[in-house]
């Protein structure tokens, strides 16, 4: 045990003192996240795409749509409920507003008895507007993980609804546009990006682990250790622990930036997050060992690693959803482990729409891990 701890401490020291390695491990994902976050967030006035589901189909509901359409912040897209929710899951809509059947009738009734339904505007600040007797529930779907967009949409909807209510009660249509300056950025992509970047960082950490490993073999350090009574599992275990620690460090850093700079909210359970980070790191570490099993020199290892990591970075839905990828590339994405790590992280962290069910994600990652473990156990050379 003392050998294990001393070796791990030595590995950590070596890693920390190697400034170049340190820089690439931590600065690279940070640069990536800030860069792509900035590109995707864009400048200018933010706008949100809202699915408009009119199940009523009366003049009153058309009038209500008119009211929403005048809000410059919103872009309405008409559609059925299932189609709109689907589009929202895939990220092309930021929210969905549903006008239920019976809205027109309720409006007519309200006009009849102008005293009823008072105070509906005040209650309209939260999600699906709570329906009392004589009122019509207006379902508003938003993604709570996308804090800013969700809050903005709800506020705007509440404003429009209360204005409409007022107009209905007062008998005059006062559907003036809500002209309120909301100090927000469009963060619709940050919540997508952060789990992806985390997955990418873990992938690079693991796969690039092949390079120092091959270097240690080339410098005969592994051979020298082989002449001591140190068990091989201690050597491998200590290397893996080092990589895991770095992976967790990266996760904390990347999530920290996601939360602090881009306002991403982490929804899922922490233990599940940690478990996925660890499984993902292990999977890619084992891929690193496979590379190290076949690369003879440090340069060769570096080359192979680039060949593996570069396409994976762009074909695994890290920067954009797989759904919008050309169909010829989709089968490639479907076998890459990073696809499933990114998907699992996205589902658990920000509740994103799943590419695959979570158990399938974890199963495929585990399969990659087991296969790579077997390959490296068979082919890894110490000298």
């Amino acid at each position: 045990m003392s050998a294990f701890l001393t070796l791990t401490a030595a590995n950590i020291r070596s890693f920390v003192r190697d400034r170049t390695a340190l820089f690439w491990t931590f600065a690279f994902p940070v640069i990536f996240i800030l860069l792509f976050g900035a590109i995707f967030s864009g400048g200018g006035t933010p706008s949100y795409s809202i699915g408009w589901v009119d199940q009523d189909g009366t003049a009153a509901s058309a009038l209500l749509r008119d009211g929403f359409a005048r809000v410059p912040l919103l872009k309405l897209q008409d559609g059925s409920l299932s189609a709109s929710l689907d589009a929202m899951r895939k990220g092309s809509l930021n929210g969905v507003v549903v006008v239920p059947k019976g809205y027109g009738a309720a409006v007519a009734a309200a006009r009849g008895s102008s005293a009823a339904g008072a105070g509906a505007g005040a209650a309209a600040t939260t999600g699906p507007i709570t329906a009392g007797p004589g009122t019509v529930p207006l379902d508003v779907y938003t993604d709570p993980s996308q804090q800013t967009s969700s809050a903005t949409i709800r506020q705007v909807v509440a404003q429009v609804v209360s204005t409409t209510n007022l107009a209905l009660l007062g008998g005059r249509p006062i559907l003036a546009t809500v002209d309120r300056s909301l100090q927000t950025q469009d963060l619709s992509n940050a919540a997508f990006l952060v789990p992806g970047i985390l997955g990418m960082a873990l992938m690079q950490l693991g796969v690039f682990g092949a390079v120092p490993l091959v270097a240690q073999r080339e410098k005969l350090i592994l051979k020298r250790l082989g002449a001591t009574p140190l068990p091989r599992w201690t050597l491998v275990g200590s290397n893996v622990v080092l990589r895991l620690l770095i992976g967790i460090g990266q996760a904390v850093l990347i999530l920290g930036i996601g939360v602090a700079v881009f306002g991403v909210t982490v929804l899922g359970a922490l233990w599940l997050m940690v478990a996925i980070v660890v499984l993902g790191a292990l999977t890619f570490i084992s891929i690193g060992y496979v590379v190290a099993s076949f690369a003879r020199t440090e340069d060769a290892a570096n080359g192979i690693v680039q060949v593996i990591q570069f396409p994976m970075m762009f074909l695994s839905g890290v920067f954009f959803p797989i759904e919008i990828m050309p169909s010829v590339l989709r089968p490639v994405a479907a076998v890459l482990p990073l696809t499933y790590l990114g998907d699992a992280l996205r589902q658990v962290m920000v509740g994103g729409s799943p590419y695959a069910p979570l158990p399938l994600d974890l199963g495929i990652l585990s399969a990659w891990f087991v296969v790579c473990l077997a390959i490296s156990a068979r082919f890894f050379r110490w000298e």
Binding site: S2, T6, L7, S14, K219, I221, K223, R224, A227, T228
Partner: protein, 310 residues
């Protein structure tokens, strides 16, 4: 498993190792006794490192048996690693760790270990103890590599060209260290290209070439076995040809090496008398005339046909 005190610490019988086409070790046998310093000599590619690394449990033999401290090194190398010390021909160190950190790391691998300070002092690295190994000079790195072989107070130490890259002072100080280890009962197997090193340190040597052991014994034995004669040497004189010199009384052999004529003779006085009589007829005296016993270097030349260091 461990034998009695007078059992050999290393026993090699019929050892063979092939790398593809190359027969690196071709059926060698020897033993190293407890408490002795044993030297493996031989030109580049003779098979020294291969032999040593098989004994250390780092390579598998193709044929033959090797016992180290009574343990079959081919079958159970792990059993013996606690008790041996290893210095590889190429120093392999963690570049970003300091001298003391590397020593501490290796100490943690063993059940028994020498104090770090003892090790640092033993190889004169006191002033560099806080330097990272990538900042050490080649000779210093080599010294650290030797210190690592001593971490676990081993019964048997393998040193593969330990003094390569060391300055004369460091080399002498390493010789002292090796002799001190022997006086404490440690057995040592070392390889070297330096004849002087072998003569100074080794109780017995084996001369290897092309995977064979050509000669084995004490330095004294090796020299007298081959050269019962003394060597009379002088700066080569023009006008004296080798054939003529070879016919002088008692001369067994005459050679010219590096501008020096060497006559191997069983009667120094008779040979020198005849030589001086002959040179007088030329009207010249032989310059730098001297007499010496044959050395290991001569043995080496005779055995392998070329000098140890090319």
């Amino acid at each position: 498993m461990t034998g009695t005190d007078d059992a050999p610490v290393i026993e090699v019988v019929g050892l063979r190792k092939r790398y593809g086409e190359v027969l690196a070790v071709d059926g060698i046998s020897f033993e190293v006794r407890r408490g002795e310093i044993f030297g493996l000599l031989g030109p580049n590619g003779a098979g020294k490192t291969t032999t040593v690394e098989i004994l250390e449990g780092l390579r598998r033999p193709d044929d033959g048996t090797v016992h180290v401290l009574g343990v079959n090194a081919a079958h159970a190398p792990e059993q013996v690693k606690q008790r041996i010390g290893v210095q590889l021909q190429t120093a392999a160190l963690y570049p970003f760790l300091t001298v003391t950190e590397v020593l501490e790391l290796f100490r943690s691998f063993y059940a028994r270990s020498r104090p770090t300070e003892w090790l640092v002092q033993a190889v004169d690295l006191g002033e560099r103890r806080h330097a990272q190994t990538r900042q050490l000079s080649g000779g210093q790195r080599q010294r650290l590599s030797v210190a690592l072989a001593l971490v676990n107070e081993p019964e048997l130490v393998f040193l593969d060209e330990p003094t390569t890259g060391m300055d004369p002072q460091a080399r002498r100080s390493l010789w002292d260290l090796v002799l001190r280890l022997r006086s404490e009962g440690t057995s040592v197997l070392l390889t070297t290209h330096y004849m002087e090193e072998a003569e100074q340190l080794c109780d017995r040597v084996a001369v290897m070439d092309h995977g064979h052991v050509l000669e084995l014994g004490t330095v004294e034995e090796l020299v007298t076995r081959r050269f019962r004669e003394r060597a009379v040497h002088f700066d080569t004189l023009p006008g004296l040809d080798l054939a003529e010199l070879g016919r002088l009384p008692q001369v067994k052999r005459a050679v010219i090496e590096d501008g020096e004529t060497v006559l191997y003779t069983s009667d120094v006085a008779a040979t020198i008398g005849a030589l001086l009589a002959r040179t007088e007829t030329l009207g010249r005296d032989p310059e730098n005339l001297g007499i010496r016993r044959a050395t290991l270097e001569d043995v080496f030349l005779d055995l392998t046909g070329h000098a140890l260091r090319e």
